[in-house]
Subunit: 350 residues, 2 copies
């Protein structure tokens, strides 16, 4: 199997897809895989899951993409509510585990899973290990903002962190943005509850101190609204705060969308008005479409793991594959490793 | 002065307004005061600030409302960026301090300030003291939701809390909702990053344990999106998380509004479409207008203190006065005191 994959490695990015996980499994992920193959001709997909299921889907695929797709059989699936420790112990032949194994052994340059975050993080950490200098991996994602987009981490991998971890998150986030957005010195902000230096808790203040002394482009404290309304590139916070901020954002957006819909449905007159406004509202919706932002990076590992939203549809999952390809092309883990090494040396020199 | 005020106390709710604070001071707060007097004929306003400034505004007021307004001179103002400890020590004749003093001495049944949160909380705590059984006051506000509205606390008064504090916040929030919304047993949720019992940090899990054993209508963990999309009445969290969630929400709403505006301004065709949609979009905007939610309660004190947004306009500040009146009518501090006493007794009996 390895040899087969290796042939194409020099020409394309082999990406392992955990086909069985997520709320919809293969029925969404296989069509997303096809879309991705048609869109990106330099990727090669390793479709990890039940051989029969995957093959059934592939039967309808055009001949042209087949050479860049390969089935890797996995007999188990990690359930969405499965405890990380249980998944790690009992699901060694799961589509999730095997996808990560492919990254570990070098057959895949990245993997994508819509499976349960806890199990994915635990398995990835166990199989791939963290980079030297990283105590804890973090989850990062891009979010739409008035200035394009903002990357935020951690989004839930670490609920109790120390200042040194926030510092590591900042380094990883900065490298990620340089690698995939091409920004030389991304603006890094530390999420706090006031822009004045006096506010916040000890942990955040200590992390600010560490960042001020670093070579990162640290711009100081930012507040929740800055994630969406300031030209900060990386927002750093602990996983509890980041997860609440992310989910709260989803809630506000949903409430607003529902309210707009309700108002336009109020009567036949408002329905007509809605019909007139529709093309504009659609353009707007497309602009902040969460599917365009689907795909969170598990950073700090010796390999690329992308987590898709469990409920992702084809368009959304396709985007997660796009991110995996981008990170593979940019060699994100190696870059983080290098940057960390450089910063540690600098600190020693100082 | 006290005698004068006392005359009207049986007939109306005397509310002290810190006229000088906030981004706009008297120029916004005095017109808001007039609106409030015209709207609510059972309030009596104590306008605390520079006598000359307040009098100049009142000169244009209709005769009919004058008997329900009274100027209380204060020679100082607390600046928006002033440190709480400095304000507390050096601004004993500030409009903020005197407004709170009026509540303490019983001349006002509530006070409203748009001044800096830290100074307001520190002064209120120093002057009014906390209720027995409350270690730390918290800041609560209502937020729009698909189910009407949700109350959330703490929003920034306490950055480092223990489980017992979260428990106290839950009691205070529950009493607040019963008092002002008339709900017998408000549904109380604990903000966490997963609805499963295994997720979150130790502090949250311990608080959940305390709440499960209480007489509150505790519904379990809720996530960020539930604040806006679930029928939970009270969402409890620490002040760091609550503040980030609140500010993030503001950011998302602003980004969405800006994006909608941009799309409608794209060309003359989209402008026309916008014109047609405007009445509906205005209705929608009115529905989630943040001004309708302006006015946060400092809970856990022996007196009612309402914090208005610093940048509040007349409509927004008027709403903060409305909340002050509502809490005065409902006797919120006494109710919290009673409920806490009852719960402590129950715990002893158990």
């Amino acid at each position: 199997m390895r040899g087969q994959v290796a042939i194409s490695m020099s020409h394309s990015y082999p990406i392992a897809l955990d086909v069985m996980s997520g709320d919809h499994g293969a029925s969404v992920i296989m069509p997303a895989a096809l879309r991705a193959l048609q869109e990106m001709d330099d990727i090669h997909l390793l479709l990890v899951g039940d051989e029969a299921v995957v093959a059934a889907h592939m039967r309808h695929w055009p001949e042209s993409v087949r050479p860049r797709a390969q089935v890797i059989h996995a007999s188990q699936t990690v359930a969405m509510e499965e405890l990380p420790a249980v998944a790690l112990r009992n699901k060694r032949d799961s589509s999730m585990r095997k996808s990560i194994d492919l990254v570990k052994e070098g057959s895949a340059s990245a993997c994508v899973s819509a499976g349960n975050t806890g199990a994915l993080m635990a398995t990835a950490r166990y199989v791939l290990k963290t980079l030297a200098g990283i105590d804890r991996p973090a989850i990062a994602t891009a979010l739409p903002s008035l200035f394009g987009h903002t990357h935020m981490l951690d989004l839930g991998a670490n609920v109790d962190v120390e200042a040194a971890h926030l510092y590591q998150f900042a380094v990883m986030g900065s490298v990620l943005v340089t690698a995939i957005d091409g920004l030389e010195t991304p603006r890094v902000g530390l999420l706090n509850i006031g822009s004045e230096a006096i506010k916040g808790n000890d942990r955040v203040r200590e992390a600010a101190h560490l960042l001020e002394g670093s070579s990162l482009n640290y711009i100081g404290f930012v507040e929740g609204n800055d994630v969406y309304c300031s030209d900060v590139d990386v927002v750093v916070c602990d996983g509890f705060v980041g997860n609440v901020a992310l989910k709260t954002s989803e809630g506000v957006a949903r409430m607003i969308a529902d309210n707009i819909r309700t108002e336009f449905k109020r009567s036949w007159i408002t329905r007509l008005r809605g019909l007139v406004a529709l093309p504009v509202l659609n353009r707007f919706r497309n602009r902040i479409d969460p599917r365009r932002y689907n795909g969170a990076s598990l950073l700090g590992l010796q390999g690329i793991v992308i987590k898709s939203h469990g409920g992702a549809d084809e368009v959304a999952f396709q985007n997660a594959i796009r991110i995996a390809r981008k990170e593979a092309e940019a060699n994100v883990p190696q870059r983080i490793d290098k940057q960390l090494g450089r910063m540690l040396r600098q600190e020693v020199e100082v």
